[in-house]
Amino acid sequence: MDVMLSEVFWIGLIAAAIRLATPILLASLGEILAERAGILNIGIEGMLLIGAFGGFLASHGTGSPWIGVLGGMIAGMALALLFAYLTITLAADQIVCGIMANLLAFGVTGFGHRVIFGMTTVIPSAPPLADWHIPGLAAIPVLGPILFQQNPLVYLGLVLVVACWFMLFRTSWGLKLRAVGEHPLAADSVGVSVRQVRYAAVLACGGLAGIGGAFLSLSQLSMFVEEMSAGRGFIALAVVIFARWHPVGALGASILFGAAEALQFRLQAQAADIPFQFLAILPYVLTVIALVSIVGRSVQPAALTRPYHKEGH
């Protein structure tokens, strides 16, 4: 257990926590936007998964991991568009639609993967998104490996935290978004289009989740595995509650979950006497505990899950 006390261990753990937090962070930022606009997007798990597949496919096809990221984003947005049509235009139940979106993503990625790549023993791969070592900063001891030798999408995630915060609280878009999620009728009565705002929020959510998915399939190993989102979208739902619908909170909560995952991998490698399953359930148990501990102290957007019907038109 000496290993656990070494500096290398901790630096590695924190760096891994931030890396593993990234897909959860991207998804939860998207979910914050959707929920702040009044849409509970359970389908975010599917959007993450389809983003992973779309990203992999685009990178594999074009040879450019960046086009892959774009592909992941578009795939996520495509599913989000369908979800938005059902929940916003048709005002169908958001939870049911979310379940449907997850099932669809599961089917589409499984089917697509098997049809396109066949049932070969050779695992197909795509050009991965290489880490960026930020010149100068990457050499700083401790901080360098933790913060400045990461995947570009990790940096993107951090930038998006600030961007989301700024958008929500310092722009007219954010004001409209928050108003729509709290009291859509009031927003409508001053000429804010509830439908437009909600569509934009859900599409942004799908896009962000799609990028998060692309991170899963394009960073490091660069391959697609069926069901590779493994519940990270659902964890993002918990992160949003834990973060009280605030982007900065989402950063902290995501890193916490990333750390749980990183710790699991590390303990798995270090301590053979603990069954790996006990460590594997850590993030999920943590989610439940987080959820229970936060109850009553967080207030969700007042119009969450409520469809808005414009009458008289």
């Binding site: 139940d93 669809l104 499984g110 089917f111």
Partner: protein, 361 residues
């Protein structure tokens, strides 16, 4: 926490039931049409594929039996989800409850050597129900007493259950050979008897039928079902009328979990005679779709369970004949939901417009 979904209408009359079935049929046809396009894209012939699918599901006694065997756990878990959703309790955790029911069942089954069947069988059935019920109750308690969203906790409990079972089938309960991640066979006396040898039809189908009748009474005829409907449709009105919302959720979370646990139990005691690493294989999620398509009505759930089981069984033979992956079925299933959802939402919308105009200013 949510409005009642558009799909929640209680069809109390034959005309309504036939309308619902007709709507489902249209959705299935539309979904199959979309599936045909995908088969074409995959470079195969959809007609040949669907013929294979149909024959695989209904072409012989054996295939029909296979459909019934597949439908049994879907029906059990689907009934539980139906009553939960009807009460506004979003139990997404059937998958985990199936796992835990199967685990509890196999534990009894492995220890039942030497027990007479009239002890072993009720014991394994009871264990399956209890295992699922306990796993379902924990999120129910968290929801009813603390207010933690069951949507997220039940999903998390799915993952936890998966790893718990994984631990047991690779660790404490691993088979004697220690070769595959599965347990040893359970005691013969604890097995659900086969009823149509040499097919795989087993007595689990009677459990499912009994559960359907029981749930029909509970949901449609009983006073508890009345209260559950009120809670699901309008929580505030339920509280106002003196109905305990929390208690209702506790009961349905336990019942839903127990029924899913029975689904896991029939897989262990009726189909495999042992516990596999992935004994559920996503049935808990399919059962959600089954419940929704069955209009959260016991009779509807029976129809939807058989339909989805047929799709599942047929897909295997479709894959054999035209080489299209079985995962196509998930797309078709999702599309069926999508079309039903879109249509009922449209109808619901018209309905809403009709009543809005009667509202005073």
């Amino acid at each position: 926490m949510t409005d009642v979904p558009a799909t929640m209408v209680t069809p109390s009359r034959v005309s309504q039931i036939s309308r619902v079935v007709g709507q489902l049929a249209v959705a299935v046809v539309a979904a199959l049409a979309c599936g045909a396009v995908l088969i074409l894209v995959a470079g195969a012939n959809p007609v040949v594929g669907y013929v294979a699918l149909f024959n695989g599901a209904f072409g012989s006694l054996n295939s029909i039996v296979e459909v019934l065997v597949k439908a049994t756990p879907l029906l059990l878990a689907g009934l539980g989800i139906a009553i939960a959703f009807k009460s506004g309790y979003w139990n997404i955790g059937a998958e985990g409850q199936i796992f835990m029911g199967a685990l509890a069942a196999v534990w009894v089954g492995l220890n039942a050597h030497g027990w007479p069947a009239y002890v072993a069988m009720p014991a394994i059935i009871g264990a399956g129900f209890l295992g699922g019920a306990v796993w379902g109750l924990i999120p129910g308690i968290l929801r009813a007493r603390i207010g933690a969203s069951e949507i997220i906790t039940t999903i998390m409990f799915n993952y936890i259950a998966f790893f718990v079972v994984n631990y047991f089938v690779t660790g404490p309960l691993v088979e004697a050979d220690q070769f595959l991640p599965q347990t040893d066979p359970i005691a013969k006396s604890a097995e659900l008897p086969r009823i149509l040898r040499p097919t795989r039809l087993h007595a689990g189908i009677f459990i499912a039928m009994a559960a359907t009748v029981a749930l029909y009474w509970v949901m449609i005829r009983s006073t508890f079902g009345f209260r559950a409907r009120v809670v699901g449709a309008n929580e505030a009105a339920a509280r106002y009328a003196g109905i305990s919302v929390g208690w209702t959720w506790l009961v349905v979370s336990g019942v839903a979990g127990g029924l899913a646990g029975l689904a896991g139990m029939v897989e262990v005691a009726g189909v495999h005679q042992l516990l596999l690493e992935d004994i559920s294989g996503g049935m808990g999620f399919t059962a959600i779709v089954v419940a929704l398509l069955g209009w959260l009505h016991p009779v509807g759930v029976v129809i939807a369970a058989i339909l989805f089981a047929a799709l599942d069984v047929g897909a295997d033979s479709m894959q054999r004949v035209i080489g299209v992956p079985v995962t196509l079925v998930y797309i078709i299933q999702a599309l069926v939901v999508l079309f039903v959802l879109a249509r009922s939402a449209l109808e619901h919308d018209m309905f809403r417009r009709i009543w809005r105009r009667f509202r005073p200013e």
